[in-house]
């Protein structure tokens, strides 16, 4: 098992500690991190968890798991919908709504044997038809659902018998189980989708441990216990209904306000605690902190290789040599986050550990190299060649989420030292997409939460690219590797393929990964057993409140 896995608190890891048994594959570091969650005392049903979460300053809650691309909304939906399989630590998968499954030898058909005792919150029976309805719904491009990219080359669904369903693919698709475990392929009620139509995102109906009660746009989503629940995923610490009577998500977009509502007792849990408060919550006996790596394509700077000066690989290399990410990440996140070495976050399957410490800031080399190519320093310190200054424009639409603009500001200062002039251009999302589509940028940046290295194909494949793709790379070697990785079923071979991909992205400076995000939840001490699943999303099924 990968020794760099730190603090991955899956529900399964929690289970290990609570029961003190099973799963001997855990590393010590995982165990010590998980032990910080308070598990003492006997769980008692009842009570309300008020969870102040960062839902950003937007007014719509889109609670259609197959439609929403927004991680905060998936943090809510994880409690409402269940998946066919659950992701377990060590890149394993366990049963959930599916009791077992087989993959055909050619990798083109997945057959799932479903539980026969599951019902949706609206009373609809969960069966093979319901699964077929969900996958068909996602697979229909007319519906333009976000989860479409999770099912890859899916060619259709066959109902074998009422509780057996086969999902077919036109080509082998090795990322499927990992994607299937995400909430974006959580199973929703066919009856409810037909009934609510366009309004389904405001009336989500799944089979999860909590059912939707009401929402107030921009402010609050209220869930209540599903009393009939008895189908928790592998790794849960109890069977039967959730302990919590009510689970209320309050959207508190401002980080200082989130901390304040936990401190004044209006919320008993909050997420995304800012770095400056993490230490406080870690050490205080009145609060508990749970942290887990978000399986993620790390927040990366994408260089527009189609446009000068980035069409010259040497300039791209000099750009990267100018960045001291160790210092920048430490300064901005106060040592609470690690810098990234690879596009993938360390716990994703296929993460290449050999990239660690393989590239560093080297301003001298950057300066030398730029001089050689003919970029000479002008009077203001910015380099000039053929009358053009070395100005690069970073187009952004997300604002300072995760302190990203703070990070860019630090990098801007570093770049100035070697003669780059970095301009930050913040745009509303419509204008941003317009610029990305037209290729009118030098740099854009983004992250993409994903459980499988196939995410690299979504970003770097020229074949699959849409006009709004962040990377403009066209590289046939990379393309072939990404196709091979998607189809390869042997884990060893597959990992080797993705190691090559990660090396190419870093060595050719197609993108510069920056930091590894950890998701965190701070709770008051009476809240027990909040878990963060393997994918990095909060799980409240086993959560209870000590009296």
């Amino acid at each position: 098992m990968n020794a760099r896995r730190r603090a991955i608190l899956s529900s399964a890891a929690v289970a290990v500690l609570a029961c003190g048994a099973l799963h001997c594959s855990k590393t010590d570091r995982e165990a010590s991190a998980a032990s910080r969650i308070r598990t003492g005392g006997a769980p008692a049903p009842g009570g309300e968890l008020v969870f102040g979460f960062d839902g950003a300053a937007i007014t719509e809650f889109n609670l259609d798991p197959e439609k929403s691309a927004f991680a905060p909304h998936h943090r809510v939906m994880r409690s409402i919908v269940d998946s066919l399989v659950v992701a377990l630590p060590g890149h394993q998968f366990g049963p959930w709504l599916a009791k077992s499954w087989e993959v055909s030898p050619d990798g083109r058909a997945y057959t799932f044997h479903l539980r026969d005792d599951v019902a949706f919150h609206d009373g609809t029976k969960f069966d093979a038809e319901a699964v077929k309805f969900n996958i068909d719904r996602v697979n229909d491009p007319k519906n333009a659902l976000y989860a479409l990219s999770d099912i890859g080359p899916c060619s259709g669904v066959t109902v074998v018998d009422p509780y057996t369903v086969r999902i077919n693919f036109s080509a082998p698709y090795s990322a499927f189980l990992a994607n299937l475990a995400k909430s974006s392929l959580g199973i929703v009620s066919p009856t409810a989708v037909r009934k609510y139509g366009d309004d389904f995102p405001h009336h989500p109906v799944g089979t999860g441990p909590f059912r939707f009660r009401s929402l107030e746009p921009a402010v609050e989503i209220a869930l209540e216990r599903n009393p009939d629940y008895k189908w928790p995923p592998a790794g849960a610490t109890h069977a039967g209904a959730a302990w919590l009577e009510r689970l209320t998500f309050k959207n508190v977009p401002e980080e200082a306000t989130r901390v304040a509502v936990l401190l004044n007792g209006q919320a008993n849990a909050i997420d995304l605690v800012p770095p400056q408060n993490l230490v406080q919550f870690r050490s205080s006996p009145e609060y508990a902190l749970v942290e887990g790596e978000l399986l993620n394509h790390n927040y990366s700077l994408y260089l527009n290789v189609k446009r000068p000066p980035w069409d010259d690989e040497r300039v791209r290399a000099a750009f990267r040599d100018s960045l001291d990410l160790d210092a920048a990440v430490k300064t901005v996140y106060l040592g609470t986050l690690e810098r990234a070495w690879s596009p993938l976050s360390p716990s994703i399957f296929g993460y290449d550990k050999t990239l660690e410490h393989s590239w560093h800031a080297d301003r001298e080399r950057a300066g030398r190299s730029l001089e050689e190519i003919g970029w000479k320093k002008g009077p203001d310190g910015i380099r000039v060649k053929d009358g053009k200054s070395l100005t690069v424009v970073f187009v952004d639409t997300q604002g300072n989420r995760e302190k990203r603009l703070d990070l860019m500001t630090v990098l801007r200062k570093q770049l100035r030292d070697t003669g780059f002039d970095l301009k930050l251009d913040s745009q509303p999302s419509s204008a941003y997409l317009g610029k990305v589509g037209a290729g009118e940028y030098d740099l854009v940046a983004g992250s993409l939460f994903a459980p499988d290295p196939d995410v690299l194909r979504r970003i770097y494949s020229h074949k699959l690219k849409t006009a709004f793709g962040v990377s403009k790379v066209e590289d046939s070697v990379l393309e072939a590797l990404l196709d091979a990785g998607s189809e390869e079923s042997d884990p060893g071979t597959r990992a080797a393929i993705y190691a090559k991909v990660q090396h190419i992205v870093v060595e050719k400076v197609y993108a510069i990964p920056t930091y590894v995000l950890k998701y965190n939840v701070a709770t008051s001490q009476s809240v027990r057993n909040v878990a963060i699943d393997v994918n990095g999303f909060p799980v409240f099924y086993d959560t209870w409140i000590a009296q």
Binding site: A144, E254, N264, Q266, S430, A431, A467
Partner: protein, 311 residues
């Protein structure tokens, strides 16, 4: 008087119509493709074409404008591009929070600003006047965001007197309304102070004094009535601004509101939603201005008599 109101209303309709048209044109002129925003970054051209057709975006601009305006005349504000929900419903969900905050903040501004202005004028050049001016300057220089954070720390975390969350609840509105109201009270206080000092220089005050009227009566009736007109005008403008929503305060206090709705809609080029938000704002401005106008007639005998004359 009735005629005056009718004239005002006619002019108001023109203002609202002009604002809607202008916003429609500006939003369409802004860069960006609404369909791409809805479909997400992975969408194919085929999907985009379908979404454009669904939303009517493939129609010529003139046609879209005609559709919007005829809908508006039938009381139909259309549907949000992003959520497909009726715009009226989206606005109705956000409006009460914005309205109650605006009214509460304006009340605080008046209750705090007017007495302080009077006190400062009455003590002109003395210590109290200086204190009021300096504190006012300091408050005016602190952004509401910062003031709000400090208030949260003191009243919600440290003393635990007031909640932060609670949406439209009265207690949860105290801090945001207090912060906004305090910030708004500064211009009110200054206007009242300078208005009083100016009015005291007017010849009619000398006449009243010569007539032998008591100072308190001169001040309470004649001076204050004079100052009231400009103060009400100012408060009207401030309330109009409040009704357009305050994205910073809404975000800080985790409240719903038109500000967040409008900012999000502009970013997403959700034109019907932006139109709706602008419509609410412009109608509010018009109504507030009308009320301000009517109050002139009530306060100022000259306006009242003039309008009686032509009625």
């Amino acid at each position: 008087m009735t005629r005056r109101i009718l004239e005002r209303l006619a002019a108001s309709v023109a203002v609202v119509f002009g604002a809607s048209t202008l916003i429609f044109l500006i939003l369409n002129w802004l860069p960006g493709d609404t369909a791409a925003l809805i479909a997400g970054e992975g969408a194919t051209e085929e999907t985009l074409v379908r979404i454009r057709a669904q939303l009517g975006l493939n129609q010529p601009l003139g046609h879209q404008y005609w559709e919007y305006m005829t809908g508006l005349l039938h009381g139909d504000l259309g549907r949000s591009y992003a959520t497909r929900a009726p715009v009226l419903q989206e606005l109705a969900a956000q409006f009460p929070s914005t309205a109650s905050l605006a009214v509460a903040a304006a009340s605080v501004a008046i209750v705090v600003g007017v007495p302080l202005g009077v006190a400062a004028a009455a003590n002109r050049g003395r210590v109290l006047d200086h204190i009021i001016q300096v504190v006012g300057l300091a408050l005016n220089s602190i952004p509401t965001f910062w003031l709000g954070l400090l208030a949260i720390l003191l009243f919600s975390v440290h003393l635990r007197w007031l909640p932060i969350l609670g949406g439209r609840g009265v207690l949860a509105s105290v801090l945001p309304a207090g912060c906004l109201g305090l910030a708004m009270s500064i211009p009110v206080q200054r206007l009242v102070r300078s208005g009083i000092l100016e009015a005291l220089q007017e010849p009619y005050i000398t006449t009243l004094r010569a007539k032998g009227l008591r100072a308190t009566r001169i001040f309470g009736v004649h001076v204050l009535r004079n100052v009231a007109i400009s103060t009400i005008t100012l408060v009207g403008v401030l309330v109009g601004e409040l009704f357009s929503g305050l994205v910073v305060v809404e975000t800080l206090f985790a409240r719903p509101g038109l500000g967040r709705l409008a900012v999000y809609a502009v970013g997403n080029k959700d034109i019907p939603l932006v139109q709706g938000a602008i419509l609410v704002t412009s109608v509010t401005y018009v109504v507030v201005n009308l009320l301000v106008d009517l109050s002139y007639a009530w306060i100022d005998p000259r306006v009242r008599l003039a309008s009686n004359g032509d009625a």
